[in-house]
């Protein structure tokens, strides 16, 4: 076995272990940590596939921010019961917005899939990636950022709603 194969096996097993922990652990903290392990192993895979930028962004965004938020929520839920004081009167609106968001995400995927070929070279360097995002993939890129903006606005609206009552 070459060194690359050994490293791949290690991270593949770690990632699988993390995924199993997410599914089967009883305590939410361990679920979150299993997810973290899975994300970090996935980042290692990206780096081994010559996409260092994607791998590092995976660590910063998913492992560094999103799992921290999960832990944050778990900590807060431990302090008080989450379901009793949740107001679900905006359900219809939320469902509608979620539907639009999902459909636009689907549109992004379809657009990307129907493009003739993936032009990212084998090197996958940040400069090349940025160039492609602002030329060939400009529309899906901007659509994705619009989707994120919608999500942020929804979060603010929901947060404000609780504040007024």
């Amino acid at each position: 076995m070459t060194l690359t194969a050994v490293i791949f096996t290690i991270f593949a097993l770690l990632g699988l272990w993390g995924a199993l922990v997410v599914l089967f652990a009883k305590r939410p903290v361990y679920n979150a940590l299993g997810l973290l392990l899975n994300f970090v192993s996935l980042a290692a895979m990206y780096i081994m596939l010559n996409a260092p930028f994607l791998g590092v962004i995976q660590i910063i965004v998913y492992s560094g921010a999103i799992v921290v938020f999960f832990l944050f929520v778990i900590m807060i839920l431990n302090l008080r019961d989450p379901l009793t004081d949740m107001d679900l009167s905006f359900k219809g609106l939320a469902a509608f917005i979620m539907m639009i968001a999902t459909l636009s995400l689907l549109g992004v995927y379809l657009y990307v899939i129907k493009l003739p070929s993936w032009k990212l070279g084998p090197e996958g360097s940040p400069a090349r990636l940025g160039e492609l995002l602002l030329t060939d993939y400009l529309i899906p890129f901007e659509l994705a950022s619009l989707l994120l903006l919608v999500a942020i606005v929804i979060a603010v609206v929901i947060g404000k709603k609780g504040e007024e009552q």
Partner: protein, 318 residues
């Protein structure tokens, strides 16, 4: 690593690690001496000349102390967390360009990798409080989680302007772009934002709310004792040393300086910033928690975004 024999590379790695960890150990001594000096006391001066053997005595003492693990803690998490902070610090050491030919690794995405490592080392503080299962520790963790996420954004924004200036994500290229003028002069706003955010990132006063002893006893490390506590303690000082080295890399031109360039300039600048960390801790009062969060979201982040915009415009038209 390319082109070097493995043995030389390993020797370099061990040497750099030894220097950084020694610096971290002696930062604890410096903290006590500087604090004493600022408060018009003497400080530790009995163990060895100028008290220089004090850190060794401290570590020996902590080694032989009884380790107390409270019954309600989560044993696995409680055991793992003190190590995470040191792993982060040691991983970051590999990326720092100490001198022209004294860099262990220079990946094309070095800057982002550093941000990722710094994000991951935040877990030690967050998990420590959750594992302890006491209210003081939990509040320390809650604060740490919010603080780390909030201050990572202005930090990344400040670094983004530096990356724009240098036109590269490699740390060596960023230092080389400063061979004539350091970014502290050409990017003063980013420099100040980064400097402030780094205090929050390292949990140092005036932003040391996760371990505010007047409110939270010891914060996230209340339930830790003996060597496990020492890991947190050493990790904090190692973090300070690494943060100072990064300020030097990003904003003060690394190994460049007036007169002959070399690793000594890097050391002098880094040591100055380690002193700066201590100086601020003993002269500034701790901020309130809401002030801390408001300052990040309402001052530092808008300022950082504006700075990126202006930098980009100057890059296009300048």
């Amino acid at each position: 690593m390319s082109g070097q024999p493995l043995l030389i590379f390993a020797a370099k790695a061990v040497g750099i690690l030894a220097v950084v960890l020694t610096a971290a150990t002696y930062a604890t001594w410096a903290e006590r001496r500087v604090a004493a000096w600022i408060q018009d006391r003497i400080g530790p001066n009995k163990t060895g000349p100028f008290g220089l053997l004090q850190p060794i005595a401290d570590v020996l003492k902590l080694f032989f102390k009884e380790e107390i693990v409270p019954a309600p803690v989560d044993p696995v998490l409680h055991f793992i967390t003190p190590g995470i902070i040191m792993v982060g610090v040691i991983a970051a050491t590999a990326l720092i360009p100490f001198a022209e030919n004294l860099t262990l690794a220079d990946p094309p995405v070095g800057v982002l990798l550093l941000l990722g490592i710094s994000a991951l080392s935040g877990y030690s503080v967050i998990l420590a409080g959750m594992a302890s299962r006491t209210k003081y520790s939990l509040f320390g963790s809650l604060r740490a989680a919010a603080q780390v996420i909030s201050y990572e954004i202005p930090m990344a924004l400040a670094i983004a302007s530096v990356v724009l200036m240098a036109g590269s994500l490699s740390l060596v290229d960023i230092v080389k772009a400063q061979s004539h003028l350091p970014f502290a002069i050409t990017q003063p706003v980013a420099f100040i934002i980064y400097l402030i955010a780094v205090f929050a990132e390292t949990n140092r006063a005036p932003f040391d709310l996760p371990e505010a002893e007047s409110e939270l006893v010891g914060g996230y490390h209340t339930e830790y004792s003996s060597m496990r506590f020492a890991w947190f303690f050493a990790g904090e000082y190692a973090h300070v040393v690494i943060a100072s080295a990064l300020i030097t890399t990003f904003f003060l031109g690394g190994w460049y300086g007036p007169g002959p360039d070399g690793v000594w300039w890097f050391a002098i600048k880094t040591l100055f910033f380690v002193y700066f960390f201590l100086w601020v801790r003993w002269t500034y009062p701790r901020t309130r928690y809401d002030q801390l969060m408001k300052f990040a979201w309402k001052v530092l982040i808008p300022l950082g975004l504006l700075n990126i915009l202006i930098t980009a415009l100057i890059k296009i038209w300048g």
